[in-house]
């Protein structure tokens, strides 16, 4: 039997926090049924939540399907999917570390901002 979890009802329209994924985990761990995660009405998911969602779907790929993944929700999950496959490339940041031993020299630096 396939059960539908309406994500908007379970979590909300805008989903930011990583911990929200535990609400889904708890529901699907209650039984061995098949689940459809319905994202109808969800307008935003954060990258962090998408990362957790991706982990959940991978861990339960034989019994979870996703529905109504559109707009930001869809594109954020795709970004996470891609980043799990490709090696991360970081933007170079060559800024030096400046060290100050007293408040006067720090103040002089801050004044020249």
């Amino acid at each position: 039997m396939r059960k539908t979890i309406k994500i908007e009802e379970l979590i909300g329209q805008d989903i930011r926090s990583r911990q929200n994924a535990d609400l889904i985990r708890n529901r699907i761990n209650e039984c061995d049924d098949f689940f459809e995660l319905d994202f109808k009405g969800v307008s935003f998911i954060s990258r962090s939540f998408a990362d957790e969602l991706y982990t959940i779907t991978r861990e339960n790929e034989d019994r979870i399907t996703l529905k109504n993944m559109v707009g930001i929700v869809d594109s954020m999950l795709r970004v996470v999917q891609q980043s799990r496959i490709k090696k991360r490339i970081r933007k170079a940041d060559n800024a030096d570390i400046k060290e100050f031993n007293d408040i006067e020299s720090l103040s002089a630096f801050l004044t020249t901002m």
């Binding site: 926090s17 990258r47 930001i72 970081r90 100050f100 801050l110």
Partner: protein, 303 residues
């Protein structure tokens, strides 16, 4: 011995974080006073930049000193009352938050808010606060997604790594001259450096240096990756890239004994003098009110 600290009139923050020049002095002078009672004299102060005010409130609230304020003008008194300068606005229930913030829709700022990280519905809090900020800023719907993304990731970061009981948020829209939204997010946690030390991760790279820890965090080296894949650590780096490269804004992060600043003029990592240490982490975001026409948030969430 004199136990009075004169609070300067800090009404500008030319380059993001330059207000800390004044804030560090106030903290230093306050800490140097032997007396438990310290008087903050506001005789010279008429307006405060939000990036000075927010950390000042936080410092005052958690200082071991008994800080008494004096010579506050009636204007300052009224403003301080509205931003909860003397008693932080503690968010307990979402319904209370909505009720309390209702009168702020036609203002340019919100109260200095404190929320309990583990117990609160942090997403619900952010939804209510962000809704007010968006209306106050009149920035249009283009700002909604980047704002959701940056606030969401940075608050999530506090939740995941700081081990702080509380998170803090303050926002003020400076729509006339600076034409930007200035947002401060903070915690009283174990600091970025402390998080790496506690988990024992990247210690060889950090070499006991707090600024190196900030650099690693800003490059996206997370303490919580899955064993076989680098799936974490995107929150700060992508938010910063979206803000600085995409929106032409400014980013500032102070944590323990170091700070990092990044805006269109460049990037700095600074080790503070030994006697200066901020208990926790504080992030300042300067978000321009006008989103560039070619801005696409997706270009910044990948790295």
């Amino acid at each position: 011995m004199c136990n009075v600290v004169v609070i300067p009139n800090v009404d500008r923050d030319e380059r993001i974080g330059s207000v800390f020049n004044h804030l560090f002095r106030v903290i230093y002078q306050t800490e140097e006073i032997d007396d438990k009672d310290v008087v903050w004299d506001f005789k010279n102060a008429s307006f405060f930049h939000p990036f000075f005010l927010a950390p000042l409130i936080l410092y005052k609230n958690r200082s071991q000193k008994n800080i008494i304020t004096t010579n506050r003008s009636s204007y300052l008194n009224r403003y301080f009352e509205l931003i909860y300068f003397d008693d932080l606005f503690s968010i307990d229930e979402l319904s209370d938050l909505e009720k309390t913030l209702n009168p702020y829709y036609n203002k340019s700022y919100i109260p200095f808010c404190r929320f309990e990280l583990c117990k609160s519905n942090v997403d619900g809090i952010q939804t209510i606060i962000q809704n007010i900020i968006e209306i106050q800023s009149k920035a249009g719907k283009e700002i909604k997604t980047p704002l959701s993304y940056m606030l969401g990731e940075l608050i999530c970061n506090i939740n995941e790594h700081s081990e702080s009981k509380y998170g803090y948020i303050f926002s003020q829209c400076l729509s006339h001259k600076e034409k930007c939204l200035d947002i401060c997010i903070a915690d009283d946690g174990i600091t970025v450096f402390g998080s790496y030390v506690k988990t024992g991760k990247f210690l060889d790279e950090i070499k006991g240096n707090e600024a190196e820890a900030l650099k690693l965090a800003n490059k996206g080296y997370s303490t919580k990756n899955l064993p076989d894949i680098e799936n974490r650590g995107y929150g700060i780096s992508t938010s910063k890239s979206m803000l600085v490269d995409g929106l032409n804004g400014g980013f500032f992060m102070l944590s323990g004994g170091a700070f990092h600043r990044h805006d269109s003029t460049g990037s700095d990592y600074v080790s503070l003098p030994k006697m200066m240490n901020w208990g926790g982490t504080i992030v300042l975001l300067r978000i321009p009110l006008f989103v560039p026409q070619n801005f696409n948030y997706m270009n910044y969430v990948i790295r």
